[in-house]
Each structure stands twice: as structure tokens, then as C-alpha cells.
Symmetry: C2
Subunit: 380 residues, 2 copies
């Protein structure tokens, strides 16, 4: 017998109470009971996004939320900057291309975040951009970008450019204050920090963005956010939502509200620090220069590069995930995004130690768990 | 204590085994276990659609599947015919408008289906149409359209026009043979005949449609069916799918395969005949001239028009749904789509009789249940 232990950055583990709530008999989405539930959820989503704007729920993956923003806000020919530092960042450039935008793709080497100076240069060269997309936590590389600092620089140089944030793996993991930081578009997905299965995506627009939307004829019906906002005010959606996922969202958000959003961010900071310290104590090298609190990326051990991930699964039921594209068979990614606590990190580190011993990797066994414990105790 | 009894045409009731399967710990969508599961589902979906073409699974409502077809297949300026006989039919005209198509909206009075003669006239006037949209079972009015006959007429007059079928509430209820009837686009949703919660949509294209797609640059990234087809061949999806719903789909489809698709159609025919006979025996008037096997629409009783639906809910936990737009407070809609059997029809008829007695409606109590029993016994 092996318990399934999922350490992937989406889907992330679902709390048992959430799974059971979703298994209750389904209700109809136009009925009073569901409408009231959506009202409660909407208020909690605003707290999570740190915004007074509607946070609209779409039945789609996070990619759909980005498409909704682009289809609602921009016209063909408008300039869109894409800060491209990973596989997911790359997608928003492709998306803007599909919508006929004039895309300025700023390539940043994988594993790195754009600096303030680089950002200032980009904006000075493109002060006429209608928007700029930034990924808060890039899942393919585990890279964090300081959105607060970047937003400040962007506003300074190009006050009208809409700042669009891919918060798919950051919302619920990293501090993200939409209104205070003056962000214009923030999106996320359900299967990440929100601790429910994939199938829902969330998007909020600033007042500045809504003004822009008013001048644009939406290029999608399904993803028309002006219709979504209208329905939002009635605690509804223009189309049939993924009812069971919305039902699961309520207890998941209630858990986050009870813990407190700032404490949720702190927990992610602590868990990621502990995991990183632990991995370093096994002599595995961390990947990248700007670690995310959602997912940690480390190089695979030299010995048993191809076996390591399989061994974790077969011996301990632990599912971590490999790298994508150029990072395939180079790194592995371990999630601490969503429903995780300290003991999960100790379990995954203990399992990694075990697998490394089996593969003949050289390190001092036990040290990784100890290193994480020191962080969790607050003594390091 | 009242058991919840959902008789709405989507969401429809979820089998208990399906709900429990979806409550199991979630798995990752790129892992072997999930890929194998998707392979099994894909084969069953082809059986259900009666097609050899890929039936692609999208994370969206049924509306999203229609948008995917339109965004993948058509260019702005192309002519699209919409046979508009209800609230859902109306949507496909709007959708084509959003995509800049030249829409010929053929209005058919609500409650009616287009006739072969009307269809021939429409096609003779528009032999250059790139597509025509028809709703197989219109949920707002409970109206069935004979797609097989219509497809024959369309092909006769305009062999190249793509025949696009909204099968959202027909797949799994009405006979629909995509390949044999030479249909080009068939879409459906998960929360209907497929007996799982909303959040997935399905779409299949004919060879003729795929040829057309090859000449068109997709106007959506999320809904680009060429990418979806590529992923389909790997038992995958381009974006993160609604994993838990896909997991639930497997036992739901297994139930349908065990029963046999033709028997599933027969069961829906029987249940709808029984319900209609029962309602007529209560002196309630049926709405429309071409009844669907998915949902039955009847006029509300004169006495207690506003109370009837509420009374069913409060006294028996029975949820039926009212009419939309012009049919609001005029009709009520009772579903027999998906996970229903004869006893469900007897329970809903018995509850309707009870409510009608309370409201002072004149009829002979007990006759409706008897009328349905006669149908179910095969003696009427």
C-alpha cells in the first residue's frame, strides 16, 4: 500500500472536505441556493485578489482567462509586450499573435526574472504598448518575478499601458495586491493555490482596463468579460458554470479565509524555504536565480537522472514532475502550492533522500530533513 | 427530510458511483494513468457520437464547443445560416456575428421545428452558405428537429455547406449518427446525457470540416481545434483539462456502453412518452409540436401558475424549471435526460398530481401515473 502523494504544481492536492462536498448531489446553477453560494465565493475571491473589482469565474483553464482578457481588451494591430521567461510566459505572446496584436517578445533566459533596469528599457522603447504581460510565478522554471517593483517602473514610464499578470501559480502563494499595486489584469486557475480541481479560471480587471474594454468590441462570445461582469453583479455567469467545482471552491476559500490571506502567503514562503534548504543539504543544485514560493525546481541527480522521478513514485507514491522542453531530463519540479504543510515537506524530503541513497548519490542522509526542520522552527 | 430530486435539463443528476469516483484523490493530467483513462474515454465518445472522427474534449460549457467550431472553421464575411427556433438556437447566430460572419437568421416560431420544405427553400436561397446550424433538441422549448431528414435536404441542395449540430441536450437522448447522416460538426456538453457535472464540452468534425479548417487560420488559441486534434492523438489536451470531470466521465460512459447506445436512446424515448402521457392525463397542455426526448415542456396550470414550481420543491424536493424569456411563468420544463428511469417518471408525475390537487386544478388523480405505467408496460 502506498498513499498517493501529489507534489505537482497543478493539479495540486484537494482537501478531503472539498472532495466530499463536491460529491454531494448536484444543484442547478440558476437556483437561489447556488446564487447565494456564488455571492459568498465572489466576496472571498476579492479578498484573495486584494481588489474591490469583480473577480469573474470562467469555466476554462487559466489559458482561457488570459484569452478572455485579450479578446475583451485589445484590437488587432495594438502593441503588446510579453516578458517571456518560460514555457507559460511564451504562451501569452502566442495568444496575442492569434489576436493579431503587434507582439514585442522580450526574451529573458529561463530561470531568471526581468530586472528593474531591463524593464525600464523595455518600456522606454515601447511607451505606446497597449499592454504588457508578466508571469508572477513561472511554473516551468519555478521563477518569481517581483510584480510590485515592475508595476512601479511600468507606470512611471508608460502610465496607460495595461499591466497584465499571469497569477496562475502565484495567487494564494505569493503576495499579490491588485488594487494597491495598480495592476490591470490578474488571472489565476482553480487547480493551484485555490486547492480545487482544474476547470475554473478567474480574472479581474482594473477600472483602467474596464474603460479600455468599453471602446473594444469583444472578439469572443464565450470569453466576453463585459457579459461576465454583468452576470457577476447577479452572482451568476453568462454560461453554465462548472457547478461542482464552484461548490468545492466554497470550503476551499473558507479554509484560506480562516487562515488569513497573509498567513497563506507566509506558509508558502516558509514551506518553499524549507524545501530549498533541504534539497541543498542533499547536494542537489537548485535551478534558477529567483525562486518562486509555489514550485521548487532543482537539477536531477547525476546518477540515476532517468530513474529518480520513477523511483519516488514507485517507492513512496510521491509524484513530482520533470522539466519541459530544454529542461526535460535536466530538472525536477516539486510543488508546495496549495494544500501543503510542514510535514508534507519533511515527507517529500525524506523520500528524496531515500531515492538518492538508492541511486548512489553522495550526500549525508538525514541532513535535508534537519535543514527543513531548522527553517520551520524559525532558527535559521 | 426531503431527498433532492433534480429534473432540470442540465445539470442532470449524477450517478452516485460517478460522484464517488470524482471524490478520489486527484491525479496529474500528464501521467500515464490519466493518459490511459483518456484513451478509453475517447473510444467510448466515438461510439456515442457514431463517428470514426476524434471527439475532442474541451474544458468549457457547450457554448465553448460551438465557439471552438466557429473559430476553427470560418472566416469573417463567410455566410452562416442559423435555424433559430429557441433561446439556445438564437445563441449560434450571435456567436457567428461575433466572428464577423454574414448571418442568415431563419426564425421558426418557438415550439416548432423546421420542415423539409422550409429547409429546401432556405438552402435554395443560400446555396453559398459556409455552414448551417441546427439544434437537435432545443432545451428552451423541448423541441426536436429531425436532423437526419434535414441533413439529407441540405446535402441535396448545397453539398459543400457544413452541417453543424447543437447536440447539447440530444447526444445520449436522441439517435444521432454523425458519420452515417453525414454531419460535419456535432457538439455536446457534459452535464446532459453524459450524466456528469457541467464543465466539459465535446466536439467532433467531419473530414469535410477538417479540410475546411486547413484553409483557415484559427481565431482563438484556447479553442483552436487543430491543436486539440493533435493532442487527441496522444490522448491529451492542449491545456490543463478539468481532470476530476474527465475521471467521472469514465464510469458514466461505461454505464452507457453497458446499456448500449441504442438502448440509451430507447430509454429516453420511453421515459419521454410516459411523462407526456402522464401530463396529458392531468389535463395540463403540452407545449410545442415536436417533442424532444430530453426535456418535456408543458403549460403551467391556470390555478397557481406562480406557486406550482415552488410547491413541487417544498413538498417533494422536486426541482423542475420554468420557461425562459416569453415562456417565463407560462410553461415548466421537466427533464428525463441522462440518469433517469421509469420510477423517476412515476415519482415526478405523482408529485405533480399532488401539487395540482393542492392548487385546485381539475383532473382525475392517479390517472397520470397509470397513463405512464401503460406506456412503460408497452401496452399503449
Amino acid at each position: 500500500m502506498r498513499k498517493p502523494r501529489l507534489f505537482t504544481p497543478g493539479p495540486t492536492p484537494i482537501p478531503e472536505t472539498v472532495m466530499l462536498r463536491m460529491a454531494e448531489p448536484i444543484i442547478h446553477h440558476r437556483h437561489a441556493e447556488f446564487v447565494a453560494l456564488v455571492g459568498r465565493i465572489n466576496a472571498h475571491l476579492q479578498t484573495l485578489f486584494c481588489t474591490k473589482q469583480p473577480v469573474m469565474t470562467l469555466t476554462a483553464s487559466g489559458t482561457g482567462a488570459a484569452e478572455a482578457a485579450i479578446a475583451t481588451l485589445f484590437q488587432a494591430g495594438e502593441k503588446g509586450i510579453n516578458i517571456n521567461n518560460g514555457k507559460f510566459a511564451e504562451r501569452w505572446g502566442k495568444m496575442m499573435n492569434v489576436y493579431g496584436m503587434n507582439v514585442v517578445d522580450v526574451e529573458i533566459a529561463w530561470g531568471n526574472a526581468i530586472s528593474e533596469d531591463q524593464m525600464r528599457d523595455v518600456m522606454k522603447q515601447n511607451p505606446d504598448a497597449a499592454c504588457i504581460w508578466l508571469v508572477h510565478s513561472e511554473t516551468s522554471t519555478g521563477t518569481y518575478t517581483n510584480i510590485q517593483a515592475m508595476a512601479r517602473v511600468i507606470r512611471e514610464v508608460a502610465p496607460d499601458t495595461l499591466i497584465c499578470i499571469d497569477g496562475i501559480t502565484s495567487i494564494g502563494a505569493h503576495e499579490c495586491r491588485m488594487d494597491e499595486w495598480d495592476l490591470d489584469v490578474v488571472i489565476t486557475g482553480s487547480q493551484k493555490g485555490l486547492m480545487i480541481p482544474p476547470g475554473l479560471a478567474f480574472v479581474a480587471l482594473s477600472e483602467r482596463a474596464w474603460k479600455k474594454a468599453a471602446s473594444v468590441t469583444a472578439r469572443s462570445l464565450y470569453f466576453d468579460l463585459k457579459q461576465a461582469r454583468e452576470a457577476w453583479h447577479d452572482n451568476s455567469t453568462p454560461w453554465t458554470p462548472a457547478v461542482s467545482l464552484v461548490i468545492g471552491l466554497e470550503p476551499a476559500l473558507a479554509m484560506m479565509m480562516k487562515e488569513g490571506v497573509e498567513n497563506v502567503w507566509k506558509r508558502h514562503t516558509l514551506l518553499s524555504r524549507g524545501l530549498r534548504a533541504g534539497l541543498q543539504a542533499t547536494n542537489l543544485q537548485l535551478y534558477g536565480t529567483s525562486p518562486s514560493h509555489a514550485v521548487t525546481v532543482a537539477y536531477l541527480p547525476e546518477k540515476g537522472r532517468k530513474e529518480f522521478i520513477k523511483l519516488l513514485k514507485s517507492d513512496f507514491g510521491v509524484t513530482v514532475i520533470g522539466g519541459q522542453d530544454a529542461l526535460k531530463d535536466v530538472v525536477f519540479r516539486t510543488s508546495h502550492l496549495g494544500y501543503y504543510d510542514e510535514a508534507d515537506m519533511l515527507a517529500v524530503l525524506g523520500s528524496i533522500e531515500y531515492a538518492l541513497q538508492k541511486l548512489g548519490h553522495e550526500f549525508e542522509a538525514g541532513r535535508s530533513v534537519y535543514a527543513a526542520q531548522r527553517i520551520f522552527m524559525g532558527v535559521e
